[in-house]
């Protein structure tokens, strides 16, 4: 009698794969718009034509009044007010600039200094003609060549920031995302990491500060930006990176600004989110390999046993 098992197996595999293809890759390609990454090149922003001088940049940053809103902790400049008050005044706490030069693209920083709403791609929310100004005041120049001045300021920010190889996932995340998004699973709140308090009262006082901050943020953004703890599983790496690269591409009209990260800092942000939402991924890969080796050995032994038992049956 002819052995039909191989053909039966092929039929089963065929129908299984067709079903899988239709309900997974195909259905998802129909449900979600596919957005390709543009490599974080920010092609719409003008290229930097001037080479900046960090020393001049430092002077400019002092004189242009940046420190009126921003802290630069590494340069010994503290924040003019605490995060909660700042959010009350501006909607969101203006970022500390210590590592801006490492996390953000220089071209983006240059455009941001000159025209914040443009670089951030939130011009649909801010219309100077209607009196709706972006909370960050644009820099109109100190009298010299504005492009040179901006290049100097960017050079200064780059000079004080951590080296590329020293940029940790945590710093990248906090600088780029952490003032709007909480990550509960990493104890991160919009006003910083929640410390361990000895007394319940202090813990509650901290929570109230977070809520006050979130209230201001909610007014500013329209709704509270989501906690990102599980985003690596709910959205996946591709969606998150392309969203961050240009939020308008994925969700037209969204209040989320383009944040202008470099590809390297994007990787770091993803790593941070993986640590939060897919913490055991390394263990999964390591154990997975061992289990696969074991289970193949298991299958081979089962096969040999069957062969032996069936020898007498034919």
């Amino acid at each position: 009698m002819k052995n039909k098992e191989p053909i039966i197996l092929l039929v089963v595999i065929f129908f299984t794969l067709v079903t899988y293809y239709l309900v997974e890759p195909f259905a998802h390609s129909q449900m979600h718009k596919h957005v390709e990454s543009e490599g974080f090149e920010y092609a719409d922003l003008p290229a930097m034509t001037k080479t900046g001088d960090a020393a001049k940049g430092q002077e400019l940053v002092m004189n242009a009044g940046c420190a009126g809103c921003h802290s630069i902790e590494v340069a010994g400049m503290p924040a003019p007010m605490d995060a909660v008050m700042a959010a009350g005044a501006y909607g969101v706490n203006p970022p500390d600039l210590s590592n801006a030069g490492a996390v953000f693209d220089p071209k983006f920083l240059a455009d941001l200094i000159k025209n914040p709403a443009h670089a951030l791609k939130v011009e649909h929310k801010y219309d100077p003609a209607a009196g709706k100004m972006h909370p960050m005041v644009a820099f109109y120049g100190m009298g010299g060549d504005i492009d040179q001045e901006v290049a100097d300021m960017v050079a200064y920010l780059q000079s004080i920031a951590v080296k590329k190889e020293e940029l940790t996932p945590k710093v990248a995340f906090e600088t780029a995302c952490g003032r709007c998004h909480a990550v509960g699973y990493e104890e991160w709140t919009q006003i910083g990491e929640k410390p361990k308090f000895k007394h319940e009262k202090d813990s509650l006082a901290f929570d109230i500060k977070v809520i006050d901050y979130q209230d201001s943020l909610m007014k500013y953004m329209g709704k509270l930006p989501p906690d990102l703890s599980m985003y690596i599983r709910s959205r996946g790496e591709h969606y998150i990176s392309t969203f961050v690269e240009n939020p308008q591409n994925q969700l037209h009209g969204t209040a989320m600004p383009r944040v202008g990260v470099t590809p390297h800092s994007m990787e770091k942000v993803i790593e941070y989110l993986e640590d939060a939402g897919d913490t055991k991924r390394h263990e999964r890969e390591a154990i997975g390999k061992n289990v696969m080796i074991y289970i193949i050995i298991f299958a081979i032994f089962a096969l040999l046993w069957k062969k032996q038992v069936w020898r007498d049956l034919h």
Partner: protein, 176 residues
């Protein structure tokens, strides 16, 4: 024979008694699955309509959802009267007109904000806008705010109960 039929009868009688017990316990089980009194009490929200002031938007809560209540000013009402789609959405209690809606954008469920200067609602998520009577003024929202089931009870509005006014709104496709 007689003996047998009596035995058969007692068996059936015992079965019947056991059945009564089973049905009785089913009643208890059914009742245990019922919504709790606290849940039921939270399902109906009574609004005293006399406390609202014209042109002041108040957010109430009903079954976990925000409810926008906006007593219409003379100007809003005049605007609404120009458009049958607007006026049919308003609830009339004691001679005053109110917008009573579930305060969720019908696009993706964000909670729009009331803009006093323009007397309208704007959803910050995707820029949808609604008029003071809850109709769509600017897309993407597919339809105006949904109106919760209500019943007019004198000067009060009971949310969660279906009254004739709401039923006719639903029948006419004013709300889902």
């Amino acid at each position: 024979m007689k003996e047998n039929s009596r035995r058969g009868f007692m068996g059936k009688a015992f079965g019947a008694v056991a059945g009564v017990g089973a049905i009785g316990s089913l009643v208890a089980m059914k009742k245990t699955w019922d919504p709790l009194p606290s849940v039921k009490a939270a399902g109906f929200t009574t609004l005293d309509m006399s406390i609202y002031q014209e042109g002041v938007m108040v957010t109430e809560k009903w079954r976990g959802k925000p409810i926008f209540v906006l007593k219409q000013t003379a100007e809003m009402l005049a605007n609404a009267k120009k458009n049958p789609k607007d006026i049919e959405r308003l609830v009339e209690v004691d001679g005053s007109h109110y917008m009573v809606c579930i305060g969720l954008c019908t696009h993706l469920g964000c909670i729009p904000a009331f803009r006093e200067a323009k007397n309208d609602f704007k959803c910050a998520c995707h820029g949808g806008e609604f008029t003071a009577s809850g109709n769509v003024q600017k897309v993407p929202p597919p339809r105006g705010f949904d109106i919760p089931p209500f019943k007019i009870d004198g000067g009060k509005l009971v949310l969660g109960e279906v009254g004739p006014e709401w039923q006719s709104m639903k029948d006419n496709g004013v709300t889902l």
